[in-house]
Structures are given as structure tokens and as C-alpha cells.
Subunit: 197 residues, 2 copies
DNA sequence: GTCTATAATTCGATAGAC
DNA sequence: GTCTATCGAATTATAGAC
């Protein structure tokens, strides 16, 4: 009874169903980003991906599993070998803008959902703890002050993302990339390195 | 057939059912603020208010009608007669913090829902257009620059509300009111009055 | 004014044929 | 691997008794 065809146990081998999986993920990213978690229904996502709703369950197990897959993006930026004290603000803002625009749907979905969903909020918090806090610590030795500085930077940077990519305030959308760097850079620089007021 | 009892057409007369109405509104504010629009069900709100779910429909017509009533808060602050150019930033941040904490549930609900719901986003935009843009115009004559400055201020101020009241980032929650004013005041001041970089 | 009962949808998830 | 059919639960909203 040799009914089992030879299978490659190689985990990196491209599966035949990768196209479907990718289509689902793309549709899910857009739906979660534009509608939020509750209103992004599996049925609507499946319709966008032009597949059957039950396929979503088969590939991702549940709606939460699908959302986790949407949020699974690599967020690390080419980190500067060592941030100089005097231009760290501009470098951080520039990196943040690249990060957001390279993962527009995933990050917008994360922010949109993180505002309503506890798990999303946790993930957002994790990002800024892993990415921003080390930078603040590098500049500021006092750990309590460092986390306060990281929190202030997060407030400005997340607020920019909120106004520009989620709420789409017209004057904020109209800002050029360089303008944002020019305005926010000194702010972040001050939160990072200015003496406690 | 004199079956109609005499009714006072006085619109300002206190209605007998104001207590129930208020109880519903209070419960709805908290539910919308903590759960967002979709997950704040009429059933849960009614249970919190210790009344029957059908009463919510009777008083507010629909879930959307209830949400509109929740967002109907007077947001105007005691406006300073004339903002001085050199301390406008601190004054604005102080006023903003008072505004938010005086209407904590309503504004948190507005932000939480405005991120997912178009009507909520519109209302948020209206607030900053009506309250922030006039201030920016008072300081900056060029209308295009004024709206850009108002947008930048909105990004920092909304970002602080997001991090502190919605996402509840621990280091941001831990900040004292005066610390926020001391850190954000100069930022807003710069966005408002510094020469275009 | 308040509550019971229920209509009418819609959703996530499952079972099973092919 | 893909699709049909459907279950069970939850929701908003309505009709009507008291």
C-alpha cells in the first residue's frame, strides 16, 4: 500500500498553496487596516481574495490566527552602528517614517486594532519597548528617566502616525516627508537628550 | 373625549425619566470608552445601567443615536483673552489636559471609535479644526502654514492622549501633569510660532 | 414606562462531499 | 485543496402585554 507520495520534509520548500495563502494575507491586511478587527469579517476578506471563507479557517485556524499572521512583520530597521547624540532625533524620525511606509497596512492595522483590542495594544507596547527604550537607555543612564523619554517619543511618533495614516487629517497628510523630519526631528531630539525640565 | 392630560410644552421642564436617561448615558460612555463601538453592546450597557435593553432603543432610537448622544459634549475651554506669543504652548497643553480629564470617557470613546469609525474621525477632525486652527491663524498669517502648524500640534496632543489614556503606556501614564506641560509645552510652542524650518 | 418574547441578520466555525 | 451546506451563538431592533 504505497499510497504516500514522496514528500520533502524541507520546511523552506515553496508550497503549492502559497499563492492562496498570500492572497488571503493581502486581503486581510487591507481589511484589518481599513475596518478594524470587528468589522473586518472573514467573509469579506475571503471575497476580496476571491476564495471561499472556509479556506481562511483552513489556513489560519481562526480569525485571531489570521490577525496574528497579519501582524507578523519584521520591524527592525538598519540600525545605525551608534546614534550620535546630536542628530539622533532626525535619524529616528526618518527611520520611523520608512518603517511605517514599508509596512503601511500591517502597521495601520496594528494601530487601528491596538486602540480597541488589548492584544493589539500589547503588541504596540512591545514594539516601542524593544525598539525605543534601548535607544533612550543608550543616551540616558537613569532607567526611570529613560523610559519616560521613550514614552514621550512614542507619543509624538504614534500621534503622527495616527493623524497622518489613520485619521488622515488633511494638513498632516499634505506634509512632505522632509517637513515631518524637520519638524519632529528636533522634538524627538529634545525628548531624548535635553535635560529634564 | 378629554383623554389627553394637560402637558407642559416647556422644553426645559425636567422630565420624570431623566434619571434613567442619565444612567444609560453614563453606562454607555464607559462601555464605548473601554470597548469601542462594536464590542460595546446595547445589552451590556443596559445591564450596567440596570435597566432593560429595550429602554435604550426607546430613549435613543438606535445604537448610533446613543453613540451620538455620548459624543455630545461641550468642549470649549475658558479661552484666554489673547494668547501671548511666548507662552501659548504651555497654555494650550494645560488646557488640553483639563479638557481631556474633564471629559475622560467621552473623549476616550471618541478617539477609540474615531480610529475605526468614519463619523468619529470626522468629529475629531472638527474639534481640531474649530479649536486649534483659529489659534494657529492668530499667530501665523499664512493660512497654509497655519493649518500645517495646527496639524503638527494635533499630532503631538492626540499622540499624548493615545499613549496615556487609550494605550496606557506605563511610562506615559506615570508622568505627572506638570511634567507633561513642561515637556510638551515647548514642543507645541515651537510648532505654533517657530520659523518654518 | 417597563418588560417579555421574538423577529431578522450576521458572524465565526465545523462537517463532509468531491 | 476547494467548495457546499449548515450549525450555534450573538447581535440590533420591533411588537405588544401589563
Amino acid at each position: 500500500m504505497a499510497e504516500n507520495p514522496p514528500r520533502r520534509p524541507d520546511a523552506t520548500a515553496p508550497r503549492r498553496s502559497d499563492a492562496t495563502r498570500t492572497a488571503i494575507l493581502t486581503a486581510a491586511r487591507e481589511r484589518f487596516a481599513s475596518d478594524g478587527y470587528e468589522r473586518a469579517t472573514i467573509r469579506a476578506i475571503a471575497k476580496d481574495a476571491r476564495i471561499d471563507p472556509s479556506m481562511v479557517m483552513r489556513y489560519f485556524g481562526s480569525k485571531e490566527g489570521l490577525f496574528d499572521a497579519v501582524l507578523d512583520v519584521d520591524l527592525r530597521l538598519p540600525e545605525p552602528a551608534r546614534l550620535r547624540r546630536d542628530d539622533a532625533g532626525e535619524v529616528l524620525v526618518t527611520h520611523f517614517l520608512s518603517l511605517w511606509e514599508d509596512n503601511l497596512e500591517a502597521l495601520t492595522a496594528m494601530l487601528r486594532v491596538g486602540v480597541t483590542n488589548a492584544a493589539g495594544a500589547e503588541r504596540l507596547q512591545g514594539i516601542f519597548r524593544d525598539q525605543l527604550l534601548p535607544v533612550a537607555r543608550q543616551v540616558c543612564p537613569d532607567p526611570e528617566q529613560a523610559s519616560a523619554r521613550a514614552g514621550l517619543i512614542a507619543s509624538q511618533v504614534l500621534g503622527m502616525a495616527l493623524a497622518r495614516y489613520v485619521l488622515k487629517f488633511p494638513p498632516v497628510v499634505a506634509l512632505a516627508r522632509e517637513e515631518i523630519v524637520a519638524w519632529l526631528g528636533p522634538t524627538v531630539q529634545r525628548y531624548l537628550a535635553a535635560p529634564h525640565p
